[in-house]
């Protein structure tokens, strides 16, 4: 447990020390909010949630890339693969909540007519999905430029796809959009339930995928036989 907490803590420390990056990460959701603010508030909320998702995914992608050289030696220092990927994910979830919190406050102050509990749950889904999603791209695509372009593509598809279409449910951040509809348009609770279920399932699938890829990448090779001393 101590190993997991230490990795989580160091991940959060690293991320929160990148002040310039943090500012830019905060800028994107803010811009998304402001750009649609004069029109229908629902568009602002959906854009904001997409901005938070993009920001946390990007942070996860870069954190995973930065740890690529460090993790093998930590593995030799006594860490198991699950300490490393779960610890990093926990750190990213913490950092994601720090990024999301001011925007939740912004919706409370700027759009009092919303169901703010729903906005909070939608943001939780964004953060919950975005951290393992960014990590998965990071472990699959070692070059950050390729990873960033893939993230951009996913977010663009998410933004443009018809949310009522069946294909929309295959996109990772559909949950936050569904919950946002409940929070903004005061629709029935089915939207909330579907959104939460989608968020949980997608998060679980992404965590499992990160676990599988990381375990293979950080596995102990079969040619190495380690014997105890004495």
């Amino acid at each position: 447990m101590n190993r997991l907490v230490t990795v989580a803590e160091m991940t959060a420390r690293e991320l929160l020390r990148r002040r310039g990056v943090l500012l830019l990460l905060l800028l994107m959701p803010l811009t998304f909010w402001l750009i649609r603010r004069d029109a229908y508030v629902g568009q602002s909320v959906r854009s904001l949630l997409l901005g938070v998702s993009w920001a946390v995914s990007t942070a996860a992608l870069f954190a995973t890339g930065a740890a690529r050289e460090l993790e093998p030696r930590l593995r030799l220092a006594g860490y198991r693969p699950h300490h490393l990927y779960l610890g990093r994910m926990a750190g990213l979830w913490m950092a994601g909540l720090v990024i999301a919190a001011p925007f939740l406050l912004l919706t409370v102050l700027d759009a009092p007519e919303l169901r703010h509990g729903g906005v909070a749950v939608a943001m939780l889904c964004c953060v919950g999905v975005a951290a393992p999603f960014g990590m998965l791209i990071g472990v699959l695509l070692p070059r950050e430029l390729e990873g960033t372009l893939l993230l951009l593509t996913v977010v663009a598809v998410q933004m443009l796809i018809d949310p009522a279409g069946s294909g929309a449910k295959l996109t990772p951040f559909w949950s936050s959009r569904e919950i946002a509809t409940w929070a903004v348009d005061h629709t029935d609770d089915g939207y909330l339930a579907r959104g939460v279920l989608h968020g949980i399932v997608v998060t679980a699938l992404l965590v499992a995928a990160v676990a599988a890829v990381s375990s293979v990448r950080l596995r102990r090779r079969r040619h190495l036989r380690q014997l105890p001393t004495g």
Binding site: R3, E14, L70, R73, A77, R221, H223, L227
Partner: protein, 272 residues
């Protein structure tokens, strides 16, 4: 520098030159007596402590090294291909406790790949590696986190073995001091010079108290003094019974190692 400081420096210099502990103690006592009787500045009486220690070391020689212990690393028949390109063919190396092995060869001959295979970080096509005890590995570059402090690196590595934060920090600072670096500051790793970052890299690899230490050209960016300290520290670790494999292209230090594995295509094989 007063007499006490001069004597302390002399003792450290003798230790670094691997003068036997008994002989070193005797030399320090004799020097202290001489300085007390003379009463003048020790620099005027006996000169710089480093030069005095060098003269002593030259006259009485280093302490005899302990005999190599049991086999710690046995790499046999290592062959590695990337596509159609064979990087390593049937490379073998056996290192015992208390030995330093150098892996040498031309650029691109697979030195780093060989070390990563020994560390179990890269798969191979044929062969086997047996390691007895704990492994430590220092990569050629990377392996540190830009936005963490050196102390946080020590905590991170220490936690892998269940070492508490305080002792991990102290162990890291002590190991760093052996390389002439005071690691306790609050400077982020990204602001460290290339050489100091390599000291951090090297310090991290020794922190988990490995029985087998794999070092991939860890001295890049070191100044001359640190480079000398590095080889002295390797000698100390060897005397403590560690098995060390160091990738190097600096052939002028091969007199300080016990084994050489030359991976250059024309001369693959082990020679002692």
């Amino acid at each position: 520098m007063n007499a006490d400081e001069w004597l302390r420096t002399l003792a450290a210099e003798l230790h670094q030159r691997r003068v036997a502990a008994d002989a070193a103690r005797h030399v320090v006592v004799e020097a202290a007596t001489h300085l007390r009787e003379d009463g003048r500045d020790p620099w005027l009486v006996l000169g710089p402590p480093g030069e005095y220690a060098a003269a002593i070391s030259e006259s009485i020689g280093p302490a005899p090294r302990p005999r190599p212990g049991p086999v710690r690393l046995h790499a046999q028949g290592i062959t590695k291909r990337y596509g159609r390109h064979t990087v390593l063919r049937d490379a073998s190396l056996t290192v015992r406790a208390g030995q330093i092995a150098a892996v040498v060869g031309a650029n691109g001959c697979g030195k780093s790949t060989f070390l990563r295979i020994c560390a179990g970080l890269v798969s191979l096509d044929t062969g086997q590696v047996t390691v007895t005890g704990r492994l430590g590995y220092c990569p050629q570059q990377g392996g540190t986190a830009d936005f963490l402090l050196p102390d946080e690196h020590f905590v991170l590595v220490g936690a892998g073995r269940g070492v508490a934060r305080g002792p991990a920090r102290r162990a890291g600072r002590t190991a760093a001091r052996q390389l002439g670096w005071e690691a306790g500051g609050d400077v982020l790793t990204r602001h460290l010079s290339g050489g100091t970052r390599q000291k951090l890299n090297l310090t991290m690899s020794t922190l988990s108290e490995p029985d087998v230490l794999l070092l991939d050209e860890p001295y890049q960016g070191f100044d001359h003094g640190t480079y000398v300290n590095f080889w002295d520290q390797l000698a100390r670790l060897r005397d403590q019974g560690k098995a060390i494999v160091v990738v190097t292209h600096l052939l002028n230090q091969l007199d300080r190692v016990d084994l050489v594995l030359d991976l250059t295509a024309a001369t693959r094989g082990e020679r002692a």
